[in-house]
């Protein structure tokens, strides 16, 4: 059996295209008030005075809430963890300002238009204080007391004696690589509709993890979790910035509490730059040492990222240098640069995204120095086991992925770098793609109905990647049903709690629980028939034993049972892990790109790309391919255009919209984006044989592009994005 699953179309495709899918911002409740934030225009200091008189005089404006009007955080809030709470710095609990764009007042009005007009009419004065530009701040050691981000991975790592090994290396490359801050800007901005009924709170929220919102809202008000219900059937893109719980969610619920009316808050584009996270600016110093055959003998990697003043967010870009290649001597160090900015977050693709940009570039520089093909250089240091633990990988077929990608791209017969096509100079580059697997505890219930349909229930949320579709395939396969007879009921904390939809963890986490639940249902059906579980098969809506066959409808009807249910759970100690104990799990792959560079005009264009991946079994060839294409497009944006600039004299993001922040458009993406998966089933990752897919696709792309640019025109760009100013030649 091929491990490439059926390309079943997305079950939610039609409602997403015709606009009938209801996102958080589409929800409304009778009597709701619209909330619009007034945000600080200074990056540091205190609010001196807020004059709401003019705003309150406008028609439709009901109330302007300032700091003293909001309920204080309940004592339970002190026990919450950062993360999944993004930051404990909740605005409007005092008059202190920690970054520009921080909310200082909430205007509540009968209409959105009135609330917007009211927000514009609020007059605030400030007592400014000197502010710290994080990009100019000196790198400092990570402080484990500043939030819990430092517990998510290693801030320091040492193996062997990298300094000694470096001195004896035949080839050494050393360079510094940088990438700018980037804002995710999903199509749907963050949005929440909060409504109280007595001491029970219901929120419609645009999120990537419902139970985290439930737990943190409960702690904010000192409620039992069960008193908070979070509903999020569809999320209009997240890319990580809806992964953790952000202060606007707490503030909306507080405003609703004060007003005793539902409050609807949809962040504006400007708000998306001030109230939710961003991928931080990251600078990386890498040294690679290799012996005369090109084998890596030493790697040092020092990373620093910008962060806010209250918590040390850490962008673990050192992960690749301790997990991509076999090397006996490795040192890693993570540093932070603190300043007056919104706290960053794990935006697509975290850790390996920035890390693969620097390491993938450095490996290309090493390949040039040694005089080896970059694939051969990588094969010389192929990591057969996890370089950190020494344990065998759950499964790794990266050699096969190199061969597959190389063959499909024509890597070994590629045109010489700089080959002309008109004014274009052609260049090719490749890099590794990889992302560690993360599993989160998840639960799910499967119900088999008397009409021969099935349903699965879970709080999981869909950020657009299609879990309802692939999970219907999983249930259908186990229960012998066509996927269109399996219905998803998701996105509600009244359902069995699921893990988050980030880190490409949904399929392996919730999917494993789902596999268990559907299998339990199948076994119950077999018992209803009186047939040994080991002897039955499920096919075409029937249970089959040898030559005997009975329809599901008949079995349930004769037993007088309206439905059979089964529960499944993936139980994880300490919230999350990296695969089954003893089997570190990681997805692997390689990206190959061909670019055109017109150095006279400073132009860079993508001509074609091939991605070949070792990710375990693919449940749905169509949705997986779509995710990989999306990741490559995302990576192209990172490589060629995306940047949010911190305006040094104003202490704020320069352009807080999509007009001066360039993202790829359709015309930038050639049709020749070729995706291939190695035929693989990973039995050590779980019963489904899957690892992780989507997040990895954006790794490696920027390095492959920079390597291709070097191939084309001989310019090594070490600071993203690769814009015309870095390419143009007289």
């Amino acid at each position: 059996m091929s491990n490439l699953g059926e390309p079943v179309p997305r079950s939610d495709g039609k409602i997403k295209v015709n606009g009938s899918a209801r996102f958080a911002a589409d929800q409304s409740l009778p009597g709701q008030l619209h909330a619009v934030f007034v945000s600080s225009t200074i990056p540091a200091g205190r609010v001196a005075n807020i004059d709401t008189g003019l705003a309150l005089g406008l028609p439709g404006v009901v109330r302007v809430l300032v700091a003293g009007d909001l309920p204080p955080l309940h004592a339970d809030f002190n026990e919450t963890m950062v993360p999944p709470l993004a930051t404990k710095s909740i605005p409007m609990q005092s008059d202190e300002i920690l970054h520009e764009g921080q909310p200082i007042a909430i205007v509540l009005a009968e209409t959105l238009e009135a609330a917007e007009a009211g927000a514009r009419a609020v007059r605030a004065t400030y007592a400014p204080a000197p502010y710290i530009n994080p990009e100019a701040a000196a790198p400092d050691a990570v402080d484990p007391e500043r939030g819990g981000y430092s517990y998510l991975d290693a801030s320091e790592f040492l193996k062997g004696d990298p300094e000694a090994a470096m001195t004896s290396a035949a080839h050494v490359v050393q360079a510094e690589y940088a990438q700018p801050t980037r804002h995710a800007n999903p199509m749907e901005p963050s949005a929440i509709l909060a409504s109280w009924s007595g001491d029970n709170l219901t929120v419609y929220d645009s999120v990537q993890h419902l139970p985290a919102v439930q737990a943190n809202l409960a702690a904010t008000f000192g409620l039992e979790r069960a008193a908070v219900r979070v509903i999020s059937p569809h999320t209009g893109g997240g890319f990580g910035v809806k992964g953790y719980v952000w202060p606007h969610e707490l503030l909306a619920a507080m405003a609703a509490r004060v007003m005793r009316r539902p409050v609807k808050l949809v962040l504006t584009r400007r708000d998306m730059y001030g109230m939710v996270g961003t991928q931080p600016r990251v600078t990386q110093e890498i040294r690679l040492g290799a012996d005369s055959t090109g084998k890596l003998v030493s790697m040092t990697h020092v990373v620093s990222n910008v962060t806010g003043l209250t918590e040390d967010y850490i962008e673990f870009a050192t992960v690749p240098s301790r997990s991509f290649y076999a090397c006996d001597n490795i040192s890693n160090l993570q540093l932070v640069r603190r300043g007056n900015m919104t706290l960053p977050t794990y935006m697509r693709s975290p850790a390996e995204g920035p890390g693969s940009w620097a390491l993938g570039s450095a490996m290309d520089e090493l390949a040039r120095a040694v005089g080896m093909d970059p694939i051969d250089l990588r094969l010389a240091s192929y990591a057969e086991v996890d370089p950190v633990s020494g344990d065998p990988w759950s499964s790794k077929k990266l050699r096969e992925a190199y061969a597959l990608g190389s063959e499909r791209f024509g890597w070994r017969s590629r045109p010489a770098g700089g080959t002309l096509d008109g004014h274009w100079r052609i260049g090719c580059g490749m890099a590794d793609c990889s992302q560690g697997v993360t599993r989160f505890g998840s639960t799910v219930r499967v119900l088999l109905k008397a009409d021969g349909t099935a349903r699965f229930e879970s709080s999981l949320c869909d950020v657009g990647q299609g879990p309802a579709t692939i999970f219907a395939q999983v249930v259908g396969e186990i229960l012998g049903l066509s996927p269109d007879r399996v219905h998803a009921v998701t996105g509600d904390t009244n359902l069995p709690p699921a893990g988050p939809t980030y880190g490409s963890a949904t399929t392996i986490s919730t999917g494993t629980a789902l596999h268990q639940a559907a299998t339990a249902v199948r076994d119950r059906l077999a018992r209803l028939c009186g047939w040994p579980v080991a002897e039955i098969a499920m096919r075409g809506g029937s249970i089959v034993r040898g030559t005997e066959s009975r329809t599901i409808e008949a079995v349930l009807s004769e037993a007088g049972v309206s439905e059979l249910s089964g529960d499944g759970a993936l139980e994880i100690e300490n919230y999350a892990d990296a695969g089954l104990p003893g089997f570190p799990a990681r997805s692997f792959g390689a990206i190959f790109v061909e670019v055109g560079v017109d150095p006279e005009l400073g132009l860079l264009r993508l001509r074609r790309a091939t991605g070949a991946y070792s990710v375990g079994r693919i449940l749905n060839a169509r949705t997986a391919r779509s995710q990989m294409i999306g990741g490559i497009v995302w990576g192209w944006g990172q490589a060629a255009m995306e940047a949010s600039h911190f305006e040094p004299s104003l202490g704020r993001w320069h352009a807080k919209d999509l007009a001066n922040v360039v993202l790829p458009v359709n015309a930038d993406i050639p049709p020749e984006i070729d995706i291939a998966f190695v035929d693989e089933f990973d039995p050590n990752a779980g019963p489904l044989g899957v690892r992780s897919v989507g997040t990895m696709a954006a790794t490696g792309v920027a390095a492959a592009v920079a390597n291709a640019v070097y191939d084309a025109i001989g310019i090594r760009v070490r600071e993203l994005p690769i814009t015309p100013d870095k390419l143009v030649q007289g």
Binding site: S39, L601, G602, A640, L650, A655, K656, D725, V728
Partner: protein
């Protein structure tokens, strides 16, 4: 957003009368005015809808060989009109490289030059020092982030560039706006509608109360012409630099060259010195290259946009090559 009154003008005279009222702005396609109102750049008391005025839409041939384009003609309708596509490829190309298909189906050719600068300081939701936003408040960009800003004609008071593509082509074609007001009709060369910061850094254009652009007039056909737009993404983005070139060739010898650059100054920038020196030179000759270089003697970079001078110079050479190929 401040409430405003809305009136539909029924004729040019009606519109001109309505536009003479204080705090009044006209609206046609509305692709810019609504942005300004959302951001808070303008707060007019009155908006006059001019789209119902008869006889201001369409393309017609003029007796002298040129064309006249009604100011209310949609961008896409201009670009795809046979008279434009065949006789003025530089203009048709410039329009089709502007904005997106949706915006080009809504925006009018007369409203297009009235769009304001795209400088992020000017467009900030919270006003920052910007003389075009608040006269006399200073310029944040001159010492700030300005990598896409001017290389010609800027002052300490404003370093922004005018972003529109079609006027760059029109400038190379020596086109004129027909502007009407209560006193009568006047014709203004396309590049002269914009106000350089040395004249007044707070002004966007020369239009006063009651001024209405009613048409654009272009002279004789310029089939040997081309528009080159340089930008980091392929569509729906303003130019880093653009070059519009119209040539009159005798074989491969240039008899006359007209060249305008876009996104390098507060108005389309004619390369007068280059145009003069190109006369009599062969396409691709070292003399032609020297002639192009002569047009950049006056170029003056800001601290982070010197690369634009190189790109503009190379884009000019490339656009000459493209125009010659169209012959």
């Amino acid at each position: 957003m401040r409430n405003f009154s809305y009136a539909q003008a029924t004729s040019r005279a009606d519109a001109i009368a309505l536009l003479q009222q204080p705090e009044t702005m006209s609206i046609a396609g509305g692709t810019e005015l609504l942005n300004w109102k959302r951001i808070g750049i303008v707060e007019p008391a009155r908006v006059v809808d001019i789209t119902g005025i008869p006889d201001m839409e369409g393309v017609e041939a003029l007796p002298n060989g040129g064309v006249r384009i009604g100011a209310l003609t949609k961008l896409n309708d201009v670009a795809q009109h046979a008279l434009i596509r065949d006789a003025y490829p530089v203009f048709s190309q410039a329009i089709l490289k502007a904005a997106s298909a949706q915006i080009r189906n809504l925006a009018t050719i007369g409203g297009n030059p009235l769009q304001r600068v795209r400088c992020a300081y000017f467009r900030a939701e919270e006003p920052t020092p910007c003389n075009k936003r608040v006269a006399g408040s200073g310029c944040s960009a001159v010492a700030g982030i300005h990598d896409k800003h001017a290389i010609f004609g800027w002052t300490e008071d404003c370093v922004a560039v005018h972003p529109a593509d079609p006027p760059v082509a029109l400038a190379a074609l020596d086109a004129a706006y027909v502007i009407e007001n209560a006193k009568g009709v006047r014709r203004v060369p396309v590049q002269d509608i914009h106000v350089m910061p040395s004249e007044n850094p707070a002004w966007h254009n020369i239009l006063g109360n009651g001024d209405l652009i009613t048409a654009i007039e272009i002279g004789a056909a310029a089939t040997t012409s081309a528009y080159l737009k340089i930008r980091e993404r392929e569509s729906f983005e303003y130019a880093t630099v653009s070059a519009a070139v119209a040539l009159d060739l005798d074989g491969d010898v240039i008899r006359r060259a007209r060249i305008a650059l876009g996104s390098v100054a507060m108005r389309p920038w004619r390369l007068n010195a280059t145009e003069q020196q190109l006369v009599g030179q062969r396409i691709g000759s070292s003399e032609a290259v020297a002639a192009v270089d002569a047009g950049f003697v006056d170029a003056r970079p800001l601290s982070s946009n010197a690369y634009k001078i190189t790109i503009a110079r190379n884009a000019t050479l490339r656009a000459i090559e493209l125009a010659a190929r169209a012959a």
